[in-house]
Subunit: 208 residues, 2 copies
């Protein structure tokens, strides 16, 4: 057995976990580049300064590596959107801020979002991914719901849909925008901004 040691005494501030993270980050880049179907352990290793054998020192098999990647993506993801809602004074301002935020996220790292949708779809076939993917979906749903309920609060009214529906609708806009953006449609980002701005008032009771 040359596998990972059961107990690692020294370097208590786990260097082991650090290396796992480093390798997972490289794997995420590979997945963003090529997509799950075309990403092998060797191509992942090429995204690192190490050889392919090392991956099996830090991960039992490919599935464990990928699920670790999914979890790692989630960590970066929620951290990014944690700031969020912020300092909007009017519902209109909040809608614009959210729309700009989503459009910026798409413009900045379209390949990462492409990878997310790829992994989410893979979870429909590979049950091992399902729980982690569902967790990410939940945190995204919460992020959307914070915005929707904050919007309703500023508008002095309340939402007329469930958190799940709100997320599904926003996600639909985002995914379609991603598809069009990656196909080279110039208007995709602007259309997303407009679509998101207009979506907010659709989801709350008519304010007096």
């Amino acid at each position: 057995m040359t596998s990972a040691p059961a107990v690692r005494r020294r370097t208590p501030a786990d260097k082991f976990e650090d290396r796992r993270r480093e390798l997972a980050d490289a794997a995420l880049l590979a997945l963003a580049d090529l997509g799950y179907a075309r990403t092998s352990l060797r191509t992942i290793a090429e995204h690192t300064k190490f050889s392919h054998g090392l991956l099996h020192y830090y991960f039992a098999d490919k599935v464990e590596l990928i699920t670790y990647c999914v979890r790692r993506y989630k960590a970066a993801c929620v951290q990014r959107y944690e700031g969020g809602v912020g300092d909007a004074a009017t519902p209109g301002e909040l809608a614009v801020a959210c729309a700009d935020g989503l459009a910026a996220a798409l413009a900045e790292a379209p390949l990462m979002h492409r990878m997310w949708y790829d992994l989410r779809t893979q979870s429909l076939f590979e049950p091992a991914f399902r729980d982690d993917v569902a967790e990410i979906d939940e945190s995204l749903r919460d992020m959307i719901w914070r915005n929707v309920s904050a919007y309703a609060g500023l508008a002095g009214t309340e939402p007329t849909c469930s958190p799940a529906d709100a997320y599904a609708l926003f996600d639909g806009l985002f995914q379609q925008a991603l598809l069009r953006h990656l196909s080279g449609e110039e208007t995709a980002l602007d259309d997303l901004r407009r679509g998101v701005r207009e979506l907010f008032p659709r989801l709350v009771r008519l304010g007096g």
Copy 2:
């Protein structure tokens, strides 16, 4: 060269195309079962009564086979939704009919829809699929738009969003429902129905 003949004289009512369709249908079943990443030409052949070598007699390579599958899926897809709008007398009836239709489509063939989302995501990585996938997306958008504008007509008002936005929103609901349905959530179908029903009035100007 053992490739497909340039000219086939007899059996003018193309037996050749029939066989291609038959093989593509088997391939679609395999893709629905396993997903693109796990579907090889040999596993496709196992879904037929033929051997794996035959696939290269009818298709130049794997990409041509898959793109043919996508086109074939589209054919079945548009034919299915062509009927559509039908005989609703009130906006409420139409919304219910559409909601039931979408929920029934999901309940009847969830694996086919899972495959569709898989292939649509693959098109983000494999440009060869992009055009055909975009065509299917367009016909789905049109299908949704027929419903939305019919709803607006029955309600004596007009839509307040673009066809693209309407499709993105419906598709978001549908995809999220598929995720939850395949995860075993009992309420997924009912939630989809309710979500779709409630979405219609959000997309049209307030009727007097």
